[in-house]
Protein backbone atom coordinates (compact mmCIF):
# COMPACT_ATOMS: atom_id res chain seq x y z
CA UNK A 1 0.00 0.00 0.00
CA UNK A 2 1.24 3.42 -0.91
CA UNK A 3 1.37 5.53 2.21
CA UNK A 4 2.11 9.18 2.72
CA UNK A 5 2.99 10.28 6.20
CA UNK A 6 0.56 13.00 7.15
CA UNK A 7 2.16 16.37 7.72
CA UNK A 8 2.24 17.56 11.30
CA UNK A 9 -0.34 20.30 11.59
CA UNK A 10 0.82 23.80 12.33
CA UNK A 11 -1.71 24.86 14.96
CA UNK A 12 -0.83 22.36 17.65
CA UNK A 13 -1.80 24.70 20.44
CA UNK A 14 -5.57 24.56 20.54
CA UNK A 15 -6.87 21.54 22.42
CA UNK A 16 -10.10 20.34 20.89
CA UNK A 17 -10.31 17.50 23.38
CA UNK A 18 -8.77 17.09 26.81
CA UNK A 19 -9.47 13.95 28.80
CA UNK A 20 -8.27 13.63 32.39
CA UNK A 21 -8.28 10.49 34.50
CA UNK A 22 -11.15 8.87 32.63
CA UNK A 23 -12.64 5.79 34.29
CA UNK A 24 -15.36 3.50 32.99
CA UNK A 25 -16.81 0.55 34.90
CA UNK A 26 -19.16 -2.16 33.72
CA UNK A 27 -20.44 -3.26 37.10
CA UNK A 28 -17.48 -4.95 38.76
CA UNK A 29 -15.32 -4.76 35.62
CA UNK A 30 -13.01 -1.77 35.41
CA UNK A 31 -12.76 -1.28 31.67
CA UNK A 32 -10.96 2.09 31.73
CA UNK A 33 -8.75 2.72 34.71
CA UNK A 34 -7.99 6.41 34.62
CA UNK A 35 -6.56 7.50 31.29
CA UNK A 36 -5.59 10.98 30.16
CA UNK A 37 -5.03 12.21 26.64
CA UNK A 38 -5.63 15.15 24.36
CA UNK A 39 -6.36 15.94 20.74
CA UNK A 40 -5.24 19.19 19.15
CA UNK A 41 -6.98 21.03 16.37
CA UNK A 42 -6.08 19.64 12.97
CA UNK A 43 -4.62 16.40 14.28
CA UNK A 44 -5.37 12.78 13.61
CA UNK A 45 -4.77 10.98 16.88
CA UNK A 46 -5.11 7.23 17.04
CA UNK A 47 -5.94 4.97 19.95
CA UNK A 48 -4.54 1.52 19.34
CA UNK A 49 -4.61 -1.64 21.41
CA UNK A 50 -5.68 -5.24 21.23
CA UNK A 51 -9.16 -6.71 21.74
CA UNK A 52 -10.75 -5.58 24.95
CA UNK A 53 -8.16 -2.89 25.64
CA UNK A 54 -10.95 -0.36 26.13
CA UNK A 55 -10.88 1.65 22.91
CA UNK A 56 -14.59 1.47 22.20
CA UNK A 57 -15.44 2.11 25.83
CA UNK A 58 -13.34 5.27 25.67
CA UNK A 59 -15.16 6.59 22.62
CA UNK A 60 -18.53 5.73 24.12
CA UNK A 61 -17.66 7.61 27.27
CA UNK A 62 -16.61 10.59 25.13
CA UNK A 63 -19.94 10.70 23.35
CA UNK A 64 -21.83 10.18 26.56
CA UNK A 65 -23.52 6.82 26.09
CA UNK A 66 -21.52 5.30 28.95
CA UNK A 67 -21.35 6.80 32.42
CA UNK A 68 -17.78 7.68 33.37
CA UNK A 69 -15.63 9.38 35.97
CA UNK A 70 -12.90 11.92 35.39
CA UNK A 71 -13.24 14.88 33.09
CA UNK A 72 -13.89 15.34 29.41
CA UNK A 73 -13.35 18.84 28.04
CA UNK A 74 -14.36 19.72 24.50
CA UNK A 75 -13.10 23.08 23.21
CA UNK A 76 -12.67 24.32 26.75
CA UNK A 77 -16.12 23.24 27.88
CA UNK A 78 -16.52 20.48 30.44
CA UNK A 79 -18.97 17.97 28.94
CA UNK A 80 -18.43 15.11 31.38
CA UNK A 81 -22.00 15.23 32.67
CA UNK A 82 -23.71 16.33 29.47
CA UNK A 83 -26.25 13.88 28.00
CA UNK A 84 -25.09 12.40 24.72
CA UNK A 85 -27.64 14.12 22.48
CA UNK A 86 -26.42 17.52 23.65
CA UNK A 87 -22.79 16.81 22.83
CA UNK A 88 -23.58 16.67 19.14
CA UNK A 89 -24.57 20.32 19.15
CA UNK A 90 -21.07 21.14 20.40
CA UNK A 91 -19.55 19.54 17.35
CA UNK A 92 -18.81 16.02 18.52
CA UNK A 93 -19.53 13.35 15.90
CA UNK A 94 -19.14 9.62 16.32
CA UNK A 95 -19.01 6.86 13.73
CA UNK A 96 -19.53 3.86 16.01
CA UNK A 97 -17.96 0.43 16.05
CA UNK A 98 -19.91 -1.90 13.77
CA UNK A 99 -21.09 1.20 11.84
CA UNK A 100 -24.50 1.39 13.49
CA UNK A 101 -26.39 2.32 10.33
CA UNK A 102 -30.16 2.18 10.67
CA UNK A 103 -31.04 -0.75 8.41
CA UNK A 104 -34.71 0.23 8.22
CA UNK A 105 -33.94 3.75 7.00
CA UNK A 106 -32.81 4.69 3.52
CA UNK A 107 -29.29 5.95 2.91
CA UNK A 108 -30.69 9.45 2.54
CA UNK A 109 -32.59 9.17 5.83
CA UNK A 110 -29.52 7.82 7.59
CA UNK A 111 -27.58 10.89 6.53
CA UNK A 112 -30.43 13.14 7.64
CA UNK A 113 -30.24 11.47 11.05
CA UNK A 114 -26.67 12.71 11.21
CA UNK A 115 -28.01 16.25 10.84
CA UNK A 116 -30.64 15.78 13.53
CA UNK A 117 -29.24 18.60 15.66
CA UNK A 118 -29.28 21.08 12.77
CA UNK A 119 -32.41 23.03 11.89
CA UNK A 120 -31.00 25.08 9.02
CA UNK A 121 -32.39 23.35 5.94
CA UNK A 122 -29.99 25.02 3.56
CA UNK A 123 -27.03 23.86 5.63
CA UNK A 124 -28.40 20.32 5.73
CA UNK A 125 -28.83 20.31 1.97
CA UNK A 126 -25.29 21.61 1.52
CA UNK A 127 -23.75 19.00 3.81
CA UNK A 128 -25.81 16.27 2.21
CA UNK A 129 -24.48 17.31 -1.17
CA UNK A 130 -20.92 17.29 0.18
CA UNK A 131 -21.45 13.78 1.51
CA UNK A 132 -22.81 12.52 -1.78
CA UNK A 133 -19.95 14.02 -3.74
CA UNK A 134 -17.45 12.51 -1.33
CA UNK A 135 -19.11 9.10 -1.64
CA UNK A 136 -20.73 8.96 -5.11
CA UNK A 137 -21.72 5.37 -4.39
CA UNK A 138 -24.10 6.62 -1.73
CA UNK A 139 -25.76 9.04 -4.12
CA UNK A 140 -26.60 6.13 -6.42
CA UNK A 141 -28.09 4.27 -3.51
CA UNK A 142 -29.70 7.15 -1.69
CA UNK A 143 -33.20 5.66 -1.70
CA UNK A 144 -32.09 2.15 -0.86
CA UNK A 145 -32.56 0.80 2.68
CA UNK A 146 -29.19 0.98 4.42
CA UNK A 147 -29.59 -2.60 5.66
CA UNK A 148 -29.20 -3.80 2.08
CA UNK A 149 -25.80 -2.14 1.56
CA UNK A 150 -22.46 -3.91 1.58
CA UNK A 151 -20.18 -3.54 4.59
CA UNK A 152 -18.00 -0.98 2.85
CA UNK A 153 -20.98 1.07 1.77
CA UNK A 154 -22.35 0.95 5.30
CA UNK A 155 -19.04 2.27 6.57
CA UNK A 156 -19.34 5.13 4.09
CA UNK A 157 -22.84 5.84 5.42
CA UNK A 158 -21.54 5.87 8.98
CA UNK A 159 -18.78 8.34 8.13
CA UNK A 160 -20.91 10.53 5.88
CA UNK A 161 -23.58 10.59 8.58
CA UNK A 162 -21.10 11.70 11.20
CA UNK A 163 -19.85 14.44 8.87
CA UNK A 164 -23.31 15.96 8.47
CA UNK A 165 -22.63 18.36 11.36
CA UNK A 166 -19.18 19.41 10.03
CA UNK A 167 -17.78 18.22 13.34
CA UNK A 168 -15.21 19.90 15.56
CA UNK A 169 -14.04 16.42 16.45
CA UNK A 170 -14.77 13.20 14.59
CA UNK A 171 -14.60 9.94 16.52
CA UNK A 172 -14.02 6.95 14.25
CA UNK A 173 -14.28 3.48 15.75
CA UNK A 174 -12.60 0.81 13.62
CA UNK A 175 -13.51 2.07 10.16
CA UNK A 176 -11.54 -0.83 8.66
CA UNK A 177 -13.45 -3.54 10.52
CA UNK A 178 -14.31 -6.45 8.27
CA UNK A 179 -13.55 -4.68 5.00
CA UNK A 180 -11.47 -5.79 2.03
CA UNK A 181 -8.04 -4.13 1.69
CA UNK A 182 -9.10 -2.06 -1.31
CA UNK A 183 -12.08 -0.58 0.53
CA UNK A 184 -9.93 0.00 3.60
CA UNK A 185 -7.47 2.07 1.63
CA UNK A 186 -10.31 4.03 0.06
CA UNK A 187 -11.77 4.76 3.48
CA UNK A 188 -8.39 5.85 4.78
CA UNK A 189 -7.88 8.09 1.77
CA UNK A 190 -11.11 9.82 2.71
CA UNK A 191 -9.93 10.14 6.30
CA UNK A 192 -6.70 11.78 5.17
CA UNK A 193 -8.55 14.05 2.84
CA UNK A 194 -10.94 15.10 5.60
CA UNK A 195 -8.02 15.88 7.83
CA UNK A 196 -6.30 17.86 5.09
CA UNK A 197 -9.48 19.93 4.88
CA UNK A 198 -9.20 20.64 8.59
CA UNK A 199 -11.24 17.97 10.38
CA UNK A 200 -9.80 16.87 13.70
CA UNK A 201 -10.03 13.12 14.14
CA UNK A 202 -9.72 10.62 16.97
CA UNK A 203 -9.24 7.26 15.33
CA UNK A 204 -9.62 3.88 16.99
CA UNK A 205 -8.03 0.97 15.18
CA UNK A 206 -6.95 -2.59 15.77
CA UNK A 207 -4.90 -2.40 12.65
CA UNK A 208 -2.05 -0.65 14.47
CA UNK A 209 0.27 -0.30 11.50
CA UNK A 210 -2.35 1.42 9.41
CA UNK A 211 -3.41 3.67 12.27
CA UNK A 212 0.15 4.70 13.05
CA UNK A 213 0.87 5.44 9.42
CA UNK A 214 -2.20 7.58 9.08
CA UNK A 215 -2.05 9.58 12.29
CA UNK A 216 0.13 12.29 13.81
CA UNK A 217 0.13 11.03 17.35
CA UNK A 218 -1.04 7.88 19.06
CA UNK A 219 -1.88 6.39 22.43
CA UNK A 220 -1.42 2.69 23.06
CA UNK A 221 -4.08 1.27 25.36
CA UNK A 222 -3.62 -1.93 27.29
CA UNK A 223 -6.29 -3.29 29.67
CA UNK A 224 -7.77 0.12 30.28
CA UNK A 225 -4.54 2.06 30.73
CA UNK A 226 -2.31 4.15 28.50
CA UNK A 227 0.79 2.08 28.02
CA UNK A 228 2.66 4.33 25.60
CA UNK A 229 2.09 7.53 23.73
CA UNK A 230 3.92 9.74 21.32
CA UNK A 231 4.33 10.69 17.70
CA UNK A 232 3.04 7.93 15.50
CA UNK A 233 6.20 7.76 13.40
CA UNK A 234 8.26 7.21 16.55
CA UNK A 235 5.89 4.53 17.80
CA UNK A 236 6.20 2.75 14.46
CA UNK A 237 9.89 2.29 15.22
CA UNK A 238 9.42 1.51 18.88
CA UNK A 239 10.57 -2.04 19.79
CA UNK A 240 7.75 -2.71 22.23
CA UNK A 241 5.12 -1.57 19.76
CA UNK A 242 6.73 -3.58 17.00
CA UNK A 243 6.67 -6.75 19.09
CA UNK A 244 3.20 -6.38 20.54
CA UNK A 245 1.22 -4.78 17.74
CA UNK A 246 3.10 -4.86 14.47
CA UNK A 247 3.99 -8.54 14.45
CA UNK A 248 7.73 -8.21 14.49
Amino acid sequence: MNIDLPKTPTSQQHEVLRVENLKVDYGPIHAIKGISFSVHRGEVVSLIGSNGAGKTSTLRALSGVLPCQGSVVLNGKDITKLPSHKRVALGLAHSPEGRGVFPNLTVHENLLMGAFSINDRALIAKNLEKGFSRFPRLRERRNQLAGTLSGGEQQMVAIARALMISPELLLLDEPSLGLAPLIVSQIFEVIQELNALGTTILLVEQNARLALKKSHRAYVLETGQVKLSGFSKDLLDNDEVQKAYLGG
Binding site: S63, G64, V65, P83, S84, H85, R87, V88, A89, H94, P96, E97, G98, G100, F102, P103, N104, L105, E109, L112, M113, G114, F116, S117, G147, R161, I165
Partner: protein, 300 residues
Protein backbone atom coordinates in the same frame (compact mmCIF):
# COMPACT_ATOMS: atom_id res chain seq x y z
CA UNK B 1 -75.35 -10.30 -1.38
CA UNK B 2 -76.75 -7.23 0.44
CA UNK B 3 -75.91 -9.04 3.63
CA UNK B 4 -72.38 -9.63 2.57
CA UNK B 5 -71.82 -5.96 1.68
CA UNK B 6 -73.34 -4.89 4.98
CA UNK B 7 -71.07 -7.28 6.84
CA UNK B 8 -68.05 -6.11 4.90
CA UNK B 9 -68.78 -2.53 5.91
CA UNK B 10 -69.23 -3.53 9.53
CA UNK B 11 -66.13 -5.68 9.47
CA UNK B 12 -64.05 -2.89 7.99
CA UNK B 13 -65.28 -0.48 10.64
CA UNK B 14 -64.48 -2.91 13.40
CA UNK B 15 -61.14 -3.66 11.76
CA UNK B 16 -60.27 0.04 11.57
CA UNK B 17 -60.94 0.28 15.30
CA UNK B 18 -58.78 -2.73 16.11
CA UNK B 19 -56.08 -1.31 13.89
CA UNK B 20 -56.09 2.05 15.66
CA UNK B 21 -55.60 0.40 19.03
CA UNK B 22 -53.15 -2.18 17.71
CA UNK B 23 -50.96 0.66 16.40
CA UNK B 24 -50.40 1.87 19.95
CA UNK B 25 -49.21 -1.55 21.08
CA UNK B 26 -46.97 -1.96 18.10
CA UNK B 27 -45.38 1.49 18.23
CA UNK B 28 -44.52 1.27 21.90
CA UNK B 29 -43.18 -2.22 21.35
CA UNK B 30 -41.13 -0.81 18.49
CA UNK B 31 -39.25 1.69 20.63
CA UNK B 32 -39.18 -0.05 24.01
CA UNK B 33 -39.63 -3.76 23.24
CA UNK B 34 -42.35 -3.92 25.86
CA UNK B 35 -46.07 -4.68 25.80
CA UNK B 36 -47.87 -1.72 27.27
CA UNK B 37 -50.71 -3.55 28.98
CA UNK B 38 -52.12 -0.25 30.18
CA UNK B 39 -52.86 0.73 26.59
CA UNK B 40 -56.35 -0.83 26.68
CA UNK B 41 -57.16 1.24 29.75
CA UNK B 42 -55.90 4.41 28.13
CA UNK B 43 -58.47 3.61 25.48
CA UNK B 44 -61.15 3.26 28.18
CA UNK B 45 -60.22 6.63 29.68
CA UNK B 46 -60.57 8.13 26.19
CA UNK B 47 -64.17 6.96 26.02
CA UNK B 48 -64.89 8.54 29.39
CA UNK B 49 -63.15 11.76 28.46
CA UNK B 50 -65.48 11.98 25.47
CA UNK B 51 -68.46 11.05 27.62
CA UNK B 52 -67.79 13.83 30.13
CA UNK B 53 -67.00 16.34 27.41
CA UNK B 54 -70.38 15.56 25.88
CA UNK B 55 -72.10 16.17 29.18
CA UNK B 56 -70.16 19.32 29.85
CA UNK B 57 -70.96 20.87 26.47
CA UNK B 58 -74.38 19.23 26.29
CA UNK B 59 -73.46 17.81 22.91
CA UNK B 60 -76.37 15.39 22.65
CA UNK B 61 -78.68 18.33 22.14
CA UNK B 62 -76.80 19.27 18.98
CA UNK B 63 -75.92 16.09 17.14
CA UNK B 64 -73.72 16.42 14.11
CA UNK B 65 -70.24 16.21 12.79
CA UNK B 66 -69.05 19.15 14.91
CA UNK B 67 -70.09 17.43 18.12
CA UNK B 68 -68.45 14.27 16.90
CA UNK B 69 -65.23 16.23 16.33
CA UNK B 70 -65.40 17.65 19.84
CA UNK B 71 -65.73 14.12 21.22
CA UNK B 72 -62.70 13.07 19.22
CA UNK B 73 -60.70 16.01 20.46
CA UNK B 74 -61.62 15.31 24.08
CA UNK B 75 -60.70 11.64 23.82
CA UNK B 76 -57.44 12.36 21.99
CA UNK B 77 -56.42 14.96 24.56
CA UNK B 78 -57.33 12.75 27.50
CA UNK B 79 -55.51 9.74 26.11
CA UNK B 80 -52.41 11.64 25.01
CA UNK B 81 -52.09 13.21 28.44
CA UNK B 82 -52.56 9.89 30.21
CA UNK B 83 -50.06 8.17 27.91
CA UNK B 84 -47.54 10.87 28.66
CA UNK B 85 -48.03 10.51 32.42
CA UNK B 86 -47.78 6.72 32.32
CA UNK B 87 -44.53 6.86 30.38
CA UNK B 88 -43.08 9.53 32.61
CA UNK B 89 -43.95 8.10 36.00
CA UNK B 90 -44.34 4.36 35.52
CA UNK B 91 -42.03 3.30 32.71
CA UNK B 92 -39.23 5.84 32.52
CA UNK B 93 -37.87 5.10 36.00
CA UNK B 94 -37.57 1.47 34.87
CA UNK B 95 -35.82 2.20 31.57
CA UNK B 96 -32.83 0.04 32.47
CA UNK B 97 -34.64 -2.46 34.68
CA UNK B 98 -35.08 -6.12 33.74
CA UNK B 99 -37.91 -6.85 31.28
CA UNK B 100 -39.91 -8.73 33.90
CA UNK B 101 -40.08 -5.71 36.22
CA UNK B 102 -41.40 -3.60 33.38
CA UNK B 103 -43.96 -6.20 32.44
CA UNK B 104 -45.25 -6.39 36.00
CA UNK B 105 -45.39 -2.61 36.20
CA UNK B 106 -47.42 -2.49 32.99
CA UNK B 107 -49.93 -4.94 34.44
CA UNK B 108 -49.98 -2.89 37.64
CA UNK B 109 -50.72 0.34 35.77
CA UNK B 110 -53.48 -1.43 33.89
CA UNK B 111 -55.13 -2.65 37.10
CA UNK B 112 -54.69 0.75 38.71
CA UNK B 113 -56.52 2.44 35.85
CA UNK B 114 -59.29 -0.16 35.73
CA UNK B 115 -60.08 0.01 39.41
CA UNK B 116 -59.57 3.75 39.73
CA UNK B 117 -62.00 3.96 36.83
CA UNK B 118 -64.54 1.97 38.81
CA UNK B 119 -64.14 4.29 41.76
CA UNK B 120 -64.18 7.53 39.79
CA UNK B 121 -66.59 6.80 36.96
CA UNK B 122 -68.63 4.13 38.73
CA UNK B 123 -68.69 0.46 37.88
CA UNK B 124 -72.05 0.47 36.12
CA UNK B 125 -72.11 0.97 32.35
CA UNK B 126 -72.94 4.38 30.92
CA UNK B 127 -74.50 5.22 27.61
CA UNK B 128 -72.13 6.90 25.20
CA UNK B 129 -73.58 10.17 23.90
CA UNK B 130 -75.38 9.76 20.63
CA UNK B 131 -74.12 12.56 18.44
CA UNK B 132 -74.51 10.91 15.05
CA UNK B 133 -77.91 9.80 13.94
CA UNK B 134 -78.32 6.26 12.90
CA UNK B 135 -80.58 6.87 9.92
CA UNK B 136 -79.30 5.66 6.56
CA UNK B 137 -77.52 8.24 4.49
CA UNK B 138 -78.58 6.54 1.27
CA UNK B 139 -79.53 3.14 0.02
CA UNK B 140 -77.94 1.29 -2.82
CA UNK B 141 -78.79 -2.16 -4.08
CA UNK B 142 -80.73 -2.80 -0.93
CA UNK B 143 -77.84 -1.94 1.35
CA UNK B 144 -78.29 1.07 3.61
CA UNK B 145 -75.21 3.21 4.10
CA UNK B 146 -75.19 4.98 7.42
CA UNK B 147 -73.32 8.16 8.22
CA UNK B 148 -71.53 6.64 11.14
CA UNK B 149 -70.26 3.72 9.10
CA UNK B 150 -68.60 6.23 6.82
CA UNK B 151 -67.28 8.26 9.70
CA UNK B 152 -65.87 5.25 11.49
CA UNK B 153 -64.04 3.99 8.42
CA UNK B 154 -63.17 7.49 7.20
CA UNK B 155 -61.83 8.73 10.51
CA UNK B 156 -59.90 5.50 10.95
CA UNK B 157 -58.30 5.95 7.55
CA UNK B 158 -57.49 9.61 8.12
CA UNK B 159 -55.93 8.85 11.50
CA UNK B 160 -53.76 6.15 9.93
CA UNK B 161 -52.79 8.44 7.06
CA UNK B 162 -51.74 11.13 9.53
CA UNK B 163 -49.75 8.56 11.47
CA UNK B 164 -48.08 7.35 8.30
CA UNK B 165 -47.13 10.90 7.41
CA UNK B 166 -45.73 11.56 10.88
CA UNK B 167 -43.66 8.40 10.93
CA UNK B 168 -42.34 8.41 7.39
CA UNK B 169 -42.15 12.09 6.49
CA UNK B 170 -41.19 14.04 9.58
CA UNK B 171 -38.00 14.42 11.56
CA UNK B 172 -39.59 13.10 14.76
CA UNK B 173 -40.92 10.08 12.89
CA UNK B 174 -37.51 9.37 11.42
CA UNK B 175 -36.01 9.61 14.90
CA UNK B 176 -38.66 7.22 16.15
CA UNK B 177 -37.75 4.64 13.53
CA UNK B 178 -34.07 5.12 14.31
CA UNK B 179 -34.62 4.73 18.05
CA UNK B 180 -36.60 1.56 17.45
CA UNK B 181 -33.58 -0.18 15.98
CA UNK B 182 -30.74 1.48 17.84
CA UNK B 183 -31.37 4.02 20.59
CA UNK B 184 -27.68 4.34 21.43
CA UNK B 185 -26.66 5.35 17.94
CA UNK B 186 -29.67 7.65 17.69
CA UNK B 187 -28.53 9.43 20.82
CA UNK B 188 -24.95 9.93 19.62
CA UNK B 189 -26.44 11.59 16.56
CA UNK B 190 -28.28 14.10 18.72
CA UNK B 191 -31.65 12.44 19.24
CA UNK B 192 -33.18 12.92 22.66
CA UNK B 193 -34.28 9.32 23.13
CA UNK B 194 -36.57 10.06 26.09
CA UNK B 195 -38.41 12.69 24.12
CA UNK B 196 -38.80 10.33 21.20
CA UNK B 197 -40.29 7.70 23.49
CA UNK B 198 -42.75 10.25 24.90
CA UNK B 199 -43.69 11.19 21.35
CA UNK B 200 -44.40 7.54 20.63
CA UNK B 201 -46.60 7.10 23.70
CA UNK B 202 -48.53 10.27 22.95
CA UNK B 203 -49.10 9.25 19.35
CA UNK B 204 -50.17 5.71 20.20
CA UNK B 205 -52.45 6.90 22.99
CA UNK B 206 -54.04 9.53 20.76
CA UNK B 207 -54.92 6.81 18.26
CA UNK B 208 -56.51 4.78 21.07
CA UNK B 209 -58.52 7.91 21.85
CA UNK B 210 -59.77 8.04 18.27
CA UNK B 211 -60.60 4.34 18.54
CA UNK B 212 -62.56 4.83 21.75
CA UNK B 213 -64.86 7.41 20.18
CA UNK B 214 -65.43 5.24 17.13
CA UNK B 215 -66.36 2.32 19.36
CA UNK B 216 -68.58 4.56 21.45
CA UNK B 217 -70.43 5.61 18.33
CA UNK B 218 -70.83 2.05 17.10
CA UNK B 219 -71.49 0.26 20.40
CA UNK B 220 -72.65 2.94 22.83
CA UNK B 221 -72.05 1.28 26.17
CA UNK B 222 -68.99 2.26 28.17
CA UNK B 223 -67.65 1.04 31.49
CA UNK B 224 -64.25 0.96 33.23
CA UNK B 225 -63.45 -2.59 32.14
CA UNK B 226 -64.40 -2.01 28.51
CA UNK B 227 -60.78 -2.01 27.42
CA UNK B 228 -59.99 -5.55 28.45
CA UNK B 229 -61.49 -7.57 25.62
CA UNK B 230 -60.95 -5.07 22.82
CA UNK B 231 -57.41 -4.43 24.07
CA UNK B 232 -56.69 -8.12 23.97
CA UNK B 233 -58.04 -8.38 20.44
CA UNK B 234 -56.07 -5.36 19.28
CA UNK B 235 -53.01 -6.91 20.82
CA UNK B 236 -53.67 -10.11 18.89
CA UNK B 237 -54.03 -7.94 15.77
CA UNK B 238 -50.62 -6.41 16.44
CA UNK B 239 -49.06 -9.84 16.92
CA UNK B 240 -50.82 -11.14 13.82
CA UNK B 241 -49.37 -8.32 11.73
CA UNK B 242 -45.95 -8.65 13.33
CA UNK B 243 -45.46 -6.70 16.54
CA UNK B 244 -43.35 -3.61 15.97
CA UNK B 245 -44.54 -3.31 12.38
CA UNK B 246 -46.82 -0.37 11.58
CA UNK B 247 -48.38 -1.72 8.39
CA UNK B 248 -48.69 -5.07 10.14
CA UNK B 249 -50.88 -3.58 12.86
CA UNK B 250 -53.23 -2.13 10.25
CA UNK B 251 -53.36 -5.37 8.32
CA UNK B 252 -53.82 -7.42 11.49
CA UNK B 253 -56.61 -5.14 12.68
CA UNK B 254 -58.51 -5.38 9.42
CA UNK B 255 -58.17 -9.16 9.31
CA UNK B 256 -59.39 -9.44 12.88
CA UNK B 257 -62.35 -7.12 12.32
CA UNK B 258 -63.47 -8.78 9.12
CA UNK B 259 -63.08 -12.32 10.38
CA UNK B 260 -64.93 -11.55 13.60
CA UNK B 261 -67.79 -9.96 11.72
CA UNK B 262 -68.01 -12.86 9.26
CA UNK B 263 -67.88 -15.53 11.93
CA UNK B 264 -70.64 -13.83 13.89
CA UNK B 265 -72.73 -13.36 10.76
CA UNK B 266 -72.37 -16.77 9.19
CA UNK B 267 -71.52 -19.10 12.07
CA UNK B 268 -72.62 -17.99 15.48
CA UNK B 269 -72.08 -15.03 17.75
CA UNK B 270 -70.95 -17.51 20.39
CA UNK B 271 -67.65 -17.60 18.54
CA UNK B 272 -67.20 -13.82 18.54
CA UNK B 273 -64.27 -13.86 20.93
CA UNK B 274 -63.03 -17.31 20.06
CA UNK B 275 -61.95 -16.02 16.64
CA UNK B 276 -59.34 -13.77 18.15
CA UNK B 277 -57.78 -16.46 20.24
CA UNK B 278 -58.00 -19.00 17.45
CA UNK B 279 -56.04 -16.58 15.28
CA UNK B 280 -53.53 -15.95 18.07
CA UNK B 281 -52.87 -19.65 18.58
CA UNK B 282 -52.62 -20.24 14.86
CA UNK B 283 -50.17 -17.40 14.31
CA UNK B 284 -48.00 -18.45 17.22
CA UNK B 285 -47.73 -21.93 15.74
CA UNK B 286 -47.40 -21.10 12.07
CA UNK B 287 -45.63 -17.76 11.97
CA UNK B 288 -44.62 -16.40 15.37
CA UNK B 289 -43.04 -13.26 13.89
CA UNK B 290 -46.39 -12.27 12.36
CA UNK B 291 -47.44 -11.64 8.78
CA UNK B 292 -45.11 -8.68 8.17
CA UNK B 293 -42.84 -9.27 11.14
CA UNK B 294 -39.26 -8.25 10.70
CA UNK B 295 -36.48 -10.57 11.60
CA UNK B 296 -34.32 -9.72 14.54
CA UNK B 297 -32.47 -6.54 13.59
CA UNK B 298 -28.82 -6.32 14.41
CA UNK B 299 -27.70 -3.91 17.11
CA UNK B 300 -24.53 -2.10 18.01
Amino acid sequence: MQDLIQHLINGLGLGAIYALIALGYTMVYGVLQMINFAHSDVYMVGAFAAYYAARWFNLESMPGVVSFAILLLAAITGCALLGLLIERFAYRPLRNAPKLNILITAIGVSLLLEYSGQVIFGADPKVFPEVLNNTPLFEMAGVSFKLFDFLVIGVGLVAMAVLHFLIYHTKQGRAMRAVSVNPRVASILGVNVDRTIVFTFVLGSALAGVGSVLVGVKYPKIEPLMGMMIGLKAFVAAVLGGIGNIMGAVLGGLIMGLSEEMVVAYLSSTYRDAVAFGILILILIVRPSGLLGRNQTEKL
